[in-house]
């Protein structure tokens, strides 16, 4: 089976207002998929439906062919990595405790958790000695690296990321994005990333899902989208970064 995540006619209403129209979407195993769109497009809602942080008003979500509604939420989420826009490290725990939190919930032995923590710090290119520090002692970029390490701690097959680089400066952002893409390859993950930065999505992802007003308008590889799209909203969204890239190329040529 190659379908990692299947959304089957899922929709979401909050207090009578539809934030997500009935939507079907399939994400193939091993792909790096970016969800793009303006604010209020429904990207984060769609992402949260995939690990049960949000429950659909109608429709089904299947992971590896199984309906996630059949599994208790906490148990489901322990098997899926999740990176938050606000990072959300627990301020009363050390960096090491933050990284080891899901393995601990799963009942791993302490020495195994400690070994895994070291391994993950290496993986996200952080020095091992920061394991004993408080999150408040780290820089923004270091904190989000810890956030990624925490998401990967229990060896999930799926990694969900909600604007993971949103709060970072451009240099840190590019470096971390490259590292995450590399981790995706190395760990053979299925990755879904929400971003409002279309350029970032086109550069990182295998496949881009364009959303607006609670609807999916397009799902295609970056090169296909760059070649042009019939939907005017999608075309407009893609046009901006392409124009930017062309002008940068002209400037570089001199």
């Amino acid at each position: 089976m190659t379908e990692a995540i299947v959304l089957d006619q899922v929709s979401k209403t909050y207090g009578g207002r539809a934030v997500l129209a009935p939507t079907s979407l399939t994400i193939t195993k091993g792909r790096f998929v970016a969800l793009v769109g303006g604010s209020g497009a429904g990207k984060t809602t769609l992402l949260k439906l995939m690990n049960g942080l949000s429950v659909p008003s109608a429709g089904r979500v299947l992971l590896d062919g199984a309906d996630i509604a059949a599994k208790p939420g906490p148990e489901l989420r322990r098997g899926i990595g999740y990176v938050f826009q606000e990072i959300g490290l627990f301020p009363h725990m050390t960096v090491g405790q933050n990284i080891g939190v899901t393995p601990e919930l799963l009942g791993w032995p302490a020495d195994e958790i400690a070994a895994r923590t070291d391994e993950l710090l290496d993986l996200v290119a952080l020095p091992r000695e920061i394991a004993g520090r408080a999150p408040s002692q780290l820089s923004g970029g270091q904190r989000q690296r810890v956030g990624v390490a925490r998401a990967l701690a229990a060896r999930p097959a799926i990694l969900l990321m909600d604007e993971p680089f949103g709060a970072l400066d451009p240099v840190t952002r590019a470096a971390l994005a490259d590292d995450v893409r590399a981790l995706h390859e190395r760990l053979r993950l299925t990755t879904v990333m929400v971003t409002h930065d279309v350029g970032e999505a086109l550069l990182l992802a295998d496949e881009v899902v364009v959303m607006a007003n609670g609807q999916v308008l397009a799902q295609a590889p970056p090169c296909a989208l760059l070649a042009g799209h019939s939907d005017p909203v999608v075309a407009q969204l893609i046009a901006a970064p392409r124009r930017q890239a062309e002008r940068l190329a002209e400037l570089a040529r001199g």
Binding site: L53, P74, R77, Y82, F84, G88, F90, H92, T102, L105
Partner: protein
């Protein structure tokens, strides 16, 4: 001064012990109710609104009234329990104090728990869900640790409030540091009042400091402070209640409980009765400073075994009579009706009367030409009337007003000690005095005549509880007191306790009273 201080300090271990035991139990109980409620309130806006509004409402009830209200409620419940289960429980003392203080301690804990938990960063709460925590794990591992400093601040506030309010448990019969304050205020023993205030304030400061240490330990995740604060509290608690446990082990239960209302004469008479019983080898517990209405009901329900009350008071307030058939008829009526209604035994009259009587300074009375209540009626519109805390709500006042058509310029209420002071300083022209009060002779006051007999007689009588009605040792010890005290002797004894210099303790005055 020094001997009054040492006398006051001698009672400290017992009073402090009870004060600590009471405050700690109330706080523990309050915490165990308010903390879960506060956490639940953080999740539900409706529950938050209801619980905070209710706790806030409780807080607006004056604490003394809250304590007093629990007594009749518990008495009723105890009566029901006796009917249904065949077993009552004490409605006086520890239980009503504990319940009232528990209610009182809840608001700050509730408010801070709700604010602390709902104030946790939503991103952190979402992250807790995202990494796979259940609701319970999120509460225990993330929300409570992060809300702990705010919750501890609420516990600190609650502790200080509770320790302060616990001094008010004295009138419902619970020994506390308030005994110093209530008795001291009554007998003008300012040394005792100061000892009570200082001990209560000192206790509050120490507890606040130790809880502050715990709060800092929680906030900075500093295990040493946490342990130091916790150990300090535990050691202090054990040290404070150790004397109680020691006393309980060495003495066992007291055989008899002698009650007293909240004024000097009552303290002296309680000591007198207790002394007679102790002379016969009985162990006696004293429950002093009971509210006037509380005392009779405590006796009827058997929580105290004997105390002294006054025939007119019982006639008007217990039997709700407004007529005045004469001294002997009132006594005979009480003897049969109290026995028939509550099983209470009117043992004997002590031989003196402590009547409600309106009193004036001699110079003022002569200047106005007032000798009786009838004379007073014409002058009253220009005069200020001072009453003790209950006088204006008693049937006797209504009877006097009705009989003589009294209408004063103003009415003011005083604690009895200050009522006499107000008369001296001319803040009141007429006061509701007690005829056996030593200050009448000492301050040269005149008691106004009552030609229409509006005020009933107030013979001091010993009352015995239904369960002691056939107790030979008690009856043999107290019966000889009948007719043994005349009003001059009682006035002298009262004055010995109330005066400013050469003060005697109630026990000393009692010893002199029956020589």
């Amino acid at each position: 001064m020094a001997d009054r201080l040492s006398a006051a300090l001698a009672a400290l271990p017992e009073r402090l012990g009870w004060h600590v035991a009471l405050s700690a139990s109330a706080l523990a109980l309050g915490l165990s109710i308010a903390l879960p409620l506060g956490i639940a309130a953080a999740r539900s806006p409706r529950l938050k609104w209801i619980s905070l509004a209710t706790a806030g409402l409780v807080q607006t009830i004056p604490s003394l009234a809250l304590l007093a209200l629990f007594y009749p409620v518990l008495l009723l419940l105890s009566g029901l329990a006796t009917k249904v289960l065949g077993h009552g429980f004490p409605a006086l003392g520890f239980l009503p104090s504990l319940l009232a203080l528990t209610l009182y301690s809840m608001l700050p804990i509730l408010r801070n728990a709700a604010a602390g938990v709902s104030g946790v960063d939503p991103a952190v709460v979402e992250a807790a869900r995202g990494v796979g925590m259940t609701d319970r794990q999120r509460l225990w591992r993330v929300e409570l640790p992060l809300a702990a400093p705010v919750i501890m601040a609420g516990v600190r506030t609650a502790a200080v409030w509770t320790i302060g309010a616990a001094t008010l448990s004295t009138p419902v019969g619970q020994t506390s540091l308030g005994d110093y304050i209530f008795s001291g205020l009554q007998t003008e023993d300012w040394v005792a009042v100061l000892v009570g205030c200082a001990a209560s304030a000192g206790l509050a400061l120490i507890v606040d400091g130790l809880l502050g240490l715990i709060e800092a330990g929680v906030a900075r995740r500093d295990g040493r402070r946490l342990w130091a604060g916790g150990a300090g509290l535990a050691i202090g608690l054990l040290a404070a209640i150790a004397p109680l446990a020691g006393a309980a082990l060495s003495q066992g239960r007291p055989t008899y409980v002698i009650g007293a209302k909240n004024f000097s004469e009552q303290y002296i008479l309680a000591e007198l009765m207790a002394g007679k019983l102790e002379a016969r080898g009985a162990s006696v517990q004293r429950r002093v400073n009971l509210g006037s209405a509380v005392a009779y009901r405590a006796l009827a329900s058997g929580e105290i075994d004997a105390y002294v009350d006054y025939s007119g008071t019982l006639w008007a307030n217990v039997l709700n009579r407004t007529d005045n058939p004469g001294r002997q008829a009132v006594r005979d009526g009480l003897r049969t009706e109290l026995k028939a209604r509550d099983g209470v035994v009117l043992l004997s009259a002590l031989g003196f009367e402590n009547a409600y009587a309106l009193a004036m300074r001699r110079d003022r009375a002569e200047q106005l030409g007032v000798k009786t209540l009838a004379d007073l009626a014409t002058k009253a519109p220009d005069l200020v009337m001072g009453g003790d805390l209950e006088f204006f709500s008693r049937p006797e006042w209504a009877a006097v007003v009705k009989a003589y058509g009294l209408s004063f310029k103003a009415k003011r209420q005083f604690q009895p000690t200050f009522m006499y002071r107000a008369l001296a300083s001319r803040e009141a022209d007429v006061i509701s005095a007690f005829s056996s009060d030593g200050r009448i002779a000492a301050d040269d006051l005149v008691l106004l005549g009552d030609p229409k007999g509006a005020l009933p007689p107030y013979d001091a009588v010993i009352l015995v509880s239904p369960k002691r009605a056939g107790d030979r040792r008690l009856l043999d010890a107290l019966t000889p007191l009948g007719g043994s005290i005349d009003v001059k002797a009682m006035q002298a004894a009262n004055y010995a306790v109330d005066r400013d210099t050469g003060k005697k303790s109630p026990a000393e005055a009692a010893a002199q009273l029956v020589r």
